[in-house]
Every structure is written in structure tokens, then in C-alpha cells.
């Protein structure tokens, strides 16, 4: 899957996107965040406060317990501030 990062999540992790293949045990959005946080200290820092993290699966907002299913594009970002 392609994992995209935006705003300060992108800045803290230091990359715009990564192509990753999580293990089968990573079933939900929350699982994915835990797995990503273990990849590097930057990932861990960026994802430390889960209340400040929002996730979209294939461009639709998802919740922590949403199954990843067949999502090809996962985006991780702070709460939006447009308008």
C-alpha cells in the first residue's frame, strides 16, 4: 500500500509517502498506526498523540477500528484546518 503523510505529520516523519506492505496481523487503522510508529523514532514522535491523528483509506475518512480491507492508499494527517 501507499502511505501518504500531510502537514506536520509529513514534516516530522520526513517523507511525503512510503510504499509499504504491513503483515497480515495489521488489520485495522489502529494496528497500522502502531506498526508505523515502530518504524523509526520520527514515526513514533509524529504518531505519539493519536487524538491528533486522522486517517483516510482510499480517500475516505476512517476511524481507529476501521478494517484496512483492500485499501491501496492510506493517508495520515492532523485534523483539517481548511475554509
Amino acid at each position: 500500500m501507499t502511505v501518504l503523510y500531510f502537514a506536520w505529520v509529513r514534516e516530522q516523519i520526513g517523507v511525503d509517502e512510503e510504499t509499504l506492505t504491513p503483515p497480515a496481523s495489521v488489520e485495522t487503522v489502529a494496528d497500522l498506526l502502531d506498526w508505523l510508529a515502530a518504524r523509526s523514532p520520527n514515526h513514533a514522535a509524529a504518531l505519539a498523540d493519536r487524538t491528533a491523528i486522522r486517517v483516510a483509506l482510499d480517500q475516505d475518512f476512517a476511524q481507529p477500528d476501521t478494517p484496512l480491507g483492500t485499501a491501496q492508499e492510506v493517508a495520515i494527517f492532523p485534523p483539517v484546518t481548511g475554509g
Binding site: 480517500q59 484546518t81 481548511g82 475554509g83
Partner: protein, 151 residues
């Protein structure tokens, strides 16, 4: 309803005029323009967005408004990129037969856009560059529209 995401400025006058041009069934046009303020000495505001999802979300929000209100024509434009104080960020304009519809749909679109469209603002000033935090009041404003569906 027309939806656009663009770095370029938009022409509010032309957008508003287009909503009622050549028709005689529009009784009300409500519009909202959001602009960059120079609060606390802000010198620039950069809007990052999620290309693809932004367009999807704006189209979904527009479709939701059209399902709720009798909208005759509408325009929703959101800019991204680096803007300076006084620049327009967003335009929402709704044409409908009556004023209550136009005001409500316009207000709804702004509230939902604030909480559902994937944009992030970074402010430049004497502090350097900082990301804007989401506001609880925006969530509250957006949630009032849910009551209509789930009373």
C-alpha cells in the same frame, strides 16, 4: 454545483454573476468569502491539501447540500498554496428561490468544508512557520447540521 480546487485567485464578481445569468427563477444569492487576516503580524498563509481526496470531499459536501436544499446553482472554490493577508481563500455561493435556503446551504457548506475537506494551514510570521490547530468550535458548528438528520 460547481466545485474547484486551485492555486489561482478567483473572480468573486464573475462567479456571483454566473449564478443568475440568463435565468429568472433565482430569488436569492448568498455568498461567503474567506480571506487571509494579518492577525498577530501574520505575513503569509500556506494551504497544503490532499489532491484527489480534496476534490472528492468537496464534491460529496456539495452533493449533500443539494440533497438537503433546493439549490438552483452554486459555486465552491477553495484555493491552495501560499497566500498573503487580504487574499481570498475560499468562496461559497448559492442561488436558490428563497433566502432561507441560500443562507442555510451557504453556512452548511462552510461548516462542513472546515471539518471535512483535507486542507492544512501553515502560518508565517515572526514566529517562523507554524501549523494551525483545528478548532473545537468548528466541530461544534459542523455537528449542528447532523441534528437535522438524527433528531
Amino acid at each position: 454545483m460547481q466545485v474547484r480546487v486551485q492555486p489561482q485567485p478567483f473572480d468573486t464578481a464573475a462567479e456571483l454573476a454566473a449564478l443568475s445569468a440568463g435565468r429568472a427563477d433565482v430569488g436569492a444569492i448568498a455568498s461567503f468569502t474567506g480571506l487571509v487576516r494579518a492577525d498577530d503580524g501574520l505575513t503569509a498563509l500556506t494551504l497544503e491539501h490532499y489532491p484527489g481526496m480534496t476534490e472528492r470531499q468537496l464534491a460529496a459536501i456539495a452533493a449533500e447540500a443539494e440533497a438537503r436544499w433546493p439549490i438552483l446553482a452554486g459555486t465552491l472554490i477553495h484555493r491552495h498554496g501560499r497566500l498573503v493577508p487580504g487574499d481570498a481563500i475560499v468562496l461559497v455561493a448559492i442561488a436558490s428561490p428563497h433566502r432561507a435556503t441560500a443562507f442555510e446551504a451557504c453556512s452548511f457548506l462552510m461548516d462542513w468544508l472546515k471539518t471535512k475537506a483535507p486542507f492544512w494551514k501553515a502560518e508565517e510570521g515572526r514566529w517562523g512557520t507554524r501549523w494551525v490547530s483545528a478548532k473545537t468550535e468548528d466541530d461544534t458548528a459542523a455537528s449542528r447540521w447532523n441534528k437535522v438528520l438524527n433528531p
